[in-house]
Amino acid sequence: MSTPMAVECQGISKIYPHFQLQNIDLSFEQGTVMGLVGPNGAGKSTILRLVMGLLGPDSGSIKVLGNSMPASQVSAKRNIGFISDDMRLYESETIAFHMDFIKSIFHSWDDEYAATLLQRFNLNKQQKVKGLSHGQRVKTTLLLALARRPNLLVFDEPTTGLDPVVRKEVLNEMMSSLEDETRSILFSSHNTLDIEQISDYITFIYGGRIIESRNKEDFLDSWRRLRLINSNSCQLPNLPNIRSIQKSGQLCAVTVTNYEDTTPEKFTNAGFTVDTVERLTLEEIFLSNVHYAERTAKKETIS
């Protein structure tokens, strides 16, 4: 039996006058974590809003926990916890007020878990929102979402602006919620470290399109940097998977995607000495992808 899907987006587009989200396919099964990476304005938040049913797509289909969005958003939202920066808490009310409020709407509210989270996050529920720091606000919204025990947690930029201690607390608590294998997380971040740490799948978005979407281990495995020595002034082989080339005298660093065991041979056959082959961090892959996408986009405009 196959695991039910948490999110299934097929061919979704959303057209704005100055921005177009095109042909987005995004799927992952329940019990896993999907991380969206991309520069500012790439379309990450738009995708999250489409998944939440806050926006309707111009074309394509979206299913969340088996519900078609936005048509069945009411039933779907019972099981989704959405957290975003622009969610407002009532400034003059206490954390306890918000907890009671959410509890009155969602019967799935778990008092015991809420109390545990208060303690773990070191929050005082009698405190009013206006006195909370940014980190405390993020932790409060996370508490309000998690204590409902939603099947899907959708989190827009969870760790932006958090200090390392709070960031770790937030990531740990996101991961603990996965102890139950029916729970899933979809989140966006430009903090590539967070994505690299907790995601099972990574989707890379640039300019409203998906550049790559695959499981994280394959994703990280497919990229390499080869440090080459070119003592005989040879020409680099023209490989389609080269993403960047940096030269300095006889030294040459080539970044490739779709790396295979036979890749170094292709350079030695062309007369190069392969000094080292290095793996890349997600941040390096991110930058490489963005630069390559920018260069390709420029070439397209010129031709």
Binding site: T32, L178, E181, D200
Partner: protein, 121 residues
């Protein structure tokens, strides 16, 4: 079972290898003797806040190396027919490999590195 895995941010190796090392070390020093059940992939992942897929990969590779045995639906254990001596040699090899890489990065010549190691034998 204590799952206090300590990872180093300055360790350049991929996370799955660091998890493998932490488990292998526990086995080779005897903290996790033969037949010790390993935590489930999901439990370890949530405990150390690392993605499931990374822990899954570490377990797969540990099984390939013969350190653990995994049975579908039943979980994983420390391999009872594991050659502990072989494992310890493997561990030593890893350390030497790290030392070699570091020496190369610091441009320390081979014979100097050998002399350094000789000091401790």
């Amino acid at each position: 079972m204590n799952l206090n895995f300590i990872f180093s941010q300055t360790d350049k190796r991929p996370m799955y290898q660091q998890i493998m090392e932490q488990i292998t070390q526990r086995v080779s020093i005897g903290d996790w003797p033969a037949n010790t059940p390993l935590p489930s992939i999901r439990h370890l992942a949530t405990e150390i806040s690392v993605s499931l897929i990374t822990v899954k990969r570490a377990y797969l590779e540990l099984e390939r190396d013969g350190v653990i045995v995994t049975q579908q639906g039943k979980g994983s254990w420390v391999n009872a027919s594991l050659d502990l001596e072989e494992l310890q040699r493997e561990e030593l090899k890893n350390h030497v490999e790290q030392a070699g890489k570091l020496a190369k990065a610091l441009a320390i010549p081979e014979d100097e590195l050998v002399n350094m190691i000789k000091k401790y034998t």
